[in-house]
């Protein structure tokens, strides 16, 4: 019997061949945690009498949820995080102004490779699947891995999604990723890894692959990854040295389901309140007034996402009733956006650029909504109070968010793209 990518990755991490359903204790090559949980894991380890990590050279901490401390308490917490990093000798510490969003910059700097196994505190570590690595979120059990190097895991089954065709103008991979989770459904993907492949994958760039690997966990998938291909090698070549093993599923691997998905059949989508899988064609919400808009997050904060937004915002201004925040996911994305003139387009349009990281999506600590306001943004979730006060949150692509910020109401971006062309 052949193996899926996930079974191959976990077999290597476990040191013996494993298959879906088994309970194992795989050893991750990297463990990540963000600024808001470091103090908590330190407290948990201290209570357990642990003063040494299993391997501090495999631990990465990123200051991305609140890079610019907004209260005296958060400045104190940042100080504690630096002390804790020093105490345990944690090797990979990316503080304010260094890496940026921890689900993205490790890929950018070539730290994440196809076939790697990573465990993390935060749920959206599944983004590492964009280069064919397996990222698994553990939340509080991260303390067990930090102390002992492993935690129990049931080897997940895989749902294989074969992509066909290519997206049409005005539609982005964020639209596809959002619609896809609504179409797959929580029943099918519960505790599965969603694996992407098929002829349509070649046309999907790294930003699109991030989006595809970001959304499935919202409906209960364990993780998501793409089958690494030539595009993966081309992306990694300037970023990393050493051999790269393109770990792919065997032809006789066992999948829970195989789904064919046509990228060209989908137009702009919108996730309506209150869940990310309440997805409809943008037509359903057209004209809904908005007050708050945000472009960024681990789902849509890459350079391609900012370029998409700039296609709409170039030469236009944000509606007077709307405030638009733009958060480049990483320091490198921000740098490239500065060099290519994107930041100038956003600033001319009246947008506010924030420090690289999670932006308002991390609980609305910066740029929150006020009570009763409506937000349209590219964040990961639209639960009530995700962005501070209660109010409706709509999730959409960077183009749809930009178009809605310009008109002051939810707008199909294709109408503005046509104006731009004519």
């Amino acid at each position: 019997m052949g193996q899926t990518i996930t079974e191959k990755i976990l077999s290597r991490a476990e040191g013996r061949p494993v298959s879906a359903g088994e309970i194992i204790h795989p050893v991750p090559e990297l463990v990540t945690c963000h600024d808001w949980y470091v103090v908590n894991f330190d407290r948990a380890l201290t209570e357990l009498g642990v003063d040494k990590l299993f391997d501090p050279s495999r631990v990465l901490i990123s200051t991305d949820h609140e890079p610019v401390a907004t209260t005296p308490q958060s400045s104190e917490r940042q100080k504690r995080v630096r002390e804790i990093v020093a105490k345990y000798g944690i090797k990979h510490f990316y503080d304010v102004g260094r890496g940026g969003l921890g689900h993205i910059f490790p890929i950018e700097i070539g730290m994440i490779k196809p076939g790697m196994f990573i465990e993390a505190y935060d749920t959206h570590v599944t983004n590492y699947g964009a280069v064919g690595a397996l990222g698994i979120a553990l939340v509080t059990e991260i303390s067990e891995v930090l102390a002992l190097g492993s935690v129990w895991l049931r080897v997940p089954e895989t749902v294989r999604v074969n992509l066909h065709g290519a997206t049409r103008p005005g539609t982005s991979m964020r639209d596809i990723a959002q619609k896809l989770i609504a179409d797959l459904g929580d029943e099918l993907v519960d505790y599965c890894v969603v694996e992407y492949g098929g002829p349509g994958l070649a046309s999907v760039d790294i930003a699109g692959r991030h989006a595809l690997c970001n959304t499935p966990l919202e409906i209960g998938a364990k993780s998501a990854l793409v089958e690494p291909d030539q595009a993966t090698l081309d992306y990694l070549a300037p970023r990393t040295s050493g051999p790269i093993d393109l770990v792919r599923s065997d032809s006789d691997a066992r999948f829970k389901a195989v789904i064919d998905y046509d990228l060209s059949a989908i137009g702009p989508q919108i996730a309506m309140p209150p869940t990310p899988d309440n997805v409809h064609s943008v037509a359903k919400a057209l004209g809904t007034p908005v007050h708050h808009a945000f472009i960024g997050s681990c789902a849509s904060g890459n350079l391609t996402d900012l370029e998409d937004a700039a296609k709409i915002l170039k030469g236009r201004t944000v509606h007077p009733q709307v405030r638009l925040y733009v958060t480049p996911a990483t320091q490198e994305v921000a740098r490239q956006a500065a060099r290519s003139g994107l930041l100038e387009i956003f600033l001319s349009a009246g947008a506010t650029i924030t420090q690289a990281g999670c932006g308002p999506c991390a609980g609305g600590r910066i740029g929150a909504m006020a009570e009763g306001e409506t937000s349209i943004n590219t964040g990961t979730r639209n639960d009530v109070r995700r962005l501070g006060a209660s109010g409706d949150i709509y999730l959409a692509s960077p183009m749809t968010v930009a178009a809605s910020a310009v008109t002051g109401a939810i707008t199909d971006p294709r109408s503005l793209l046509e104006e731009t062309r004519s």
């Binding site: 290597r12 991490a13 040191g15 309970i23 204790h25 795989p26 050893v27 991750p28 090559e29 990297l30 357990l48 009498g49 642990v50 299993f54 391997d55 050279s57 495999r58 090797k91 990979h92 730290m111 490779k113 076939g115 790697m116 196994f117 939340v139 509080t140 059990e141 303390s143 067990e144 102390a147 002992l148 190097g149 492993s150 129990w152 519960d190 505790y191 209960g220 364990k222 050493g242 093993d245």
Partner: protein, 184 residues
């Protein structure tokens, strides 16, 4: 460890939320971890008198997606605080881990279990074998027990006891993956 529970059935429907239905959200936000505190508030938003009416050994029977929502452990600690057992048609992954980590004896998935009993039935459940007897109906049903490795965590009283034991036995554990791709 006693895996055999006998008591009254308390049946619930599908999609009980871990926050709200099973335990008020404020206890998760306050990171309350004491089962004896949490037991007083179990299911209070569905039935304010629930905590007063259940007895140790009673069995909660849930439908599909028992404990859905943002995976917080407090609801499962509250169930354990009363000495109750749990059977559910399904438990979403995050809550499944929390039920283990709370040291709660449970069976899931139990297909159609909500059709095999009703509130008030006299049930006997062996959590080590997966056998459920409905003594009121005179029927016996067989479900898949939780894997022995996971039952061992429950037997230690949950996550903390389990980790302490692993720490004590640390020297015998594997500390490095055979082929490390992480060459930094």
């Amino acid at each position: 460890v006693n895996w055999l529970y006998r008591g009254k059935c308390w049946r619930f429907g599908d999609s009980l939320g871990i926050d709200g239905d099973i335990m008020p959200l404020r206890f998760a936000l306050a990171r309350e971890m004491d089962p004896m505190v949490l037991r007083e508030h179990l299911m209070c938003e569905i039935d304010p008198d629930f905590a007063k009416r259940v007895k140790p050994g009673d069995l909660i029977v849930g439908g599909r997606r028992f404990g859905q929502g943002n995976p917080h452990i407090q609801g499962f600690l509250g169930i354990r605080g009363h000495g109750l057992g749990l059977l559910a048609e399904s438990i979403p992954r995050g809550s499944f881990r929390n039920a283990i980590n709370a040291g709660l004896p449970f069976l899931a998935p139990c297909p159609n279990v909500t059709t095999l009993c009703e509130t008030g039935d006299d049930l006997e459940v062996d959590f080590s074998t997966g056998r459920m007897r409905n003594l009121t109906r005179g029927e016996t049903h067989q479900f898949q027990p939780i894997e022995p490795e996971l039952r061992a965590i429950v037997a230690k009283g949950g996550w903390k006891g389990h980790v302490k034991e692993r720490l004590a036995a640390r020297s015998s554990h594997q500390s490095e993956a055979p082929h490390n791709l992480f060459g930094r």
